[in-house]
């Protein structure tokens, strides 16, 4: 119940994600700064810098999800544990792909934090709620990031990741006994 109160409080959530190094909803200040006019190489460089900033924000969220699924695994049982492990592996695949993209753009991929200050989770239900909260944040961030990415390949990758995160949400909601597909447009807002 304690965790449920936390998950429902937008201020607590925002504080948590900020402490986790996550600039919510895309973290696109660098993009806005990079939108000025210029020509040729300058535009390419600023576009790459903007892409790197957006992708590193996504990596921060993926690392937060990885830490949450890892920390929560001991509280999961049976089929939920199997799915939790599978989702953990998929978040790692996302982080790897995003890190590769950042490296290819000439940047340095964001690294996981040494520690994540998660709210206390005591039950499987708490873990599911925490995962659901992080997945929602990730969905909102990817949707915000999509039009800011300069290349079609990066946009397609982000679209395929956000759809995977939405699938995670459906399964998590099902495990929580809630409607699995509550809205026709998945916006990632809690």
């Amino acid at each position: 119940m304690e965790f449920e109160r936390f998950a429902l409080d937008p201020i607590s959530r925002r504080r948590f994600f900020r402490a986790s190094g996550v600039a919510t909803a895309g973290g696109s200040a660098a993009f806005l700064a990079a939108c000025g006019s210029g020509s040729g190489d300058t535009r390419n460089e600023t576009a790459a810098a903007a892409d790197i900033a957006v992708l590193n924000s996504a990596i921060d969220l993926e690392n937060t999800a990885i830490a949450a699924y890892t920390a929560g695994a001991p509280l999961l049982k049976g089929e939920v544990l199997r799915l939790g492990r599978e989702f953990l592996g998929q978040e790692k695949e996302h982080a790897d792909a995003l890190s590769t993209a950042v490296t290819q753009l000439g940047g340095h991929p964001s690294r996981p934090k040494a520690a994540y200050d998660f709210p206390r989770v005591r039950t499987q239900r708490d873990v599911l709620l925490l995962a659901n909260m992080i997945e929602h944040e990730a969905i909102a961030a990817y949707l915000d990031a999509l039009p800011k990415l300069s290349s079609t390949d990066l946009r397609a990758m982000a679209a395929s990741i956000v759809t995977n995160e939405a699938e995670h949400v459906s399964v998590l909601l099902g495990a929580l006994g809630r409607p699995q597909v509550p809205t026709a447009f998945v916006a990632g807002k809690a």
Partner: protein, 209 residues
């Protein structure tokens, strides 16, 4: 170009060789019975796949053309779920799910229609009747679910390809929200069939189910 049995829809002109290869693979799968009960229904989706292919790969480039194609696809999905609801083979719980999914496809179509009008385009009418004919032959809930998975995979694949082409940021976000909803449909349908609900870290509608 194709990967494991599913056509990859890419930029440029329609590649009839790739389509033929896809059809051959499908027919081969049916012959060998690899896809069990859903094979016949899966094979019958090839005409719809062709229309998707034509819509997103060979259609004139531009946001309005892509949105118009998506509307037709959503209308087809609405009709498919309506046919599923009336198939007489669904349990009450699965029937409620089909009703919900159909309603959500209709919401997508309505939003896309509004977007298309905003672009100055006229929304297309009608559905792909050939797509729906296999549902008349469905004899079990399992077959209906397999049909729905094939359909949802195609829709997700179409939106995935659209994400590479759309120019307007707002449209890109709307279609990603819709693509995510279709992915959620897939997860629920896979669970209904007792298979892994989220088998791929990157959901592009092109991996095998």
């Amino acid at each position: 170009m194709r990967d494991s049995g599913r056509l990859i829809i890419e930029d440029g002109d329609a590649d009839t060789a790739a389509i033929a290869a896809y059809e051959a693979t499908r027919r081969d799968a049916v012959r060998r019975g690899l896809a069990a009960g859903g094979a016949v229904i899966g094979a019958a989706l090839v005409p719809a796949l062709l229309s998707v292919r034509n819509a997103f790969a060979a259609a004139p480039q531009g946001d309005a053309a892509i949105v118009a194609s998506a509307i037709r696809l959503e209308n087809t999905a609405v009709a498919a779920y309506a046919a599923a609801v009336n198939s007489g083979v669904l349990t009450p719980q699965f029937r409620r799910t089909a009703v919900l999914f159909g309603r959500q496809e209709a919401a997508h179509a309505a939003a896309l229609t509004a977007a298309l009008r905003g672009l100055g385009g006229a929304p297309p009418a009608g559905t792909d009747a050939k797509l729906l004919s296999p549902l008349k032959r469905a004899r079990s809930q399992r077959q209906v679910a397999q049909f729905a998975i094939e359909l949802e995979n195609m829709v997700v694949a179409a939106y995935f390809d659209a994400s590479k082409k759309l120019q307007q940021g707002r449209l890109l976000q709307t279609t990603a929200q819709i693509m995510s909803n279709e992915g959620q449909h897939l997860a629920v349908l896979r669970q209904a069939l007792g298979t892994d609900p989220v088998p791929n870290a990157f959901e592009n509608g092109k991996a095998s189910t």
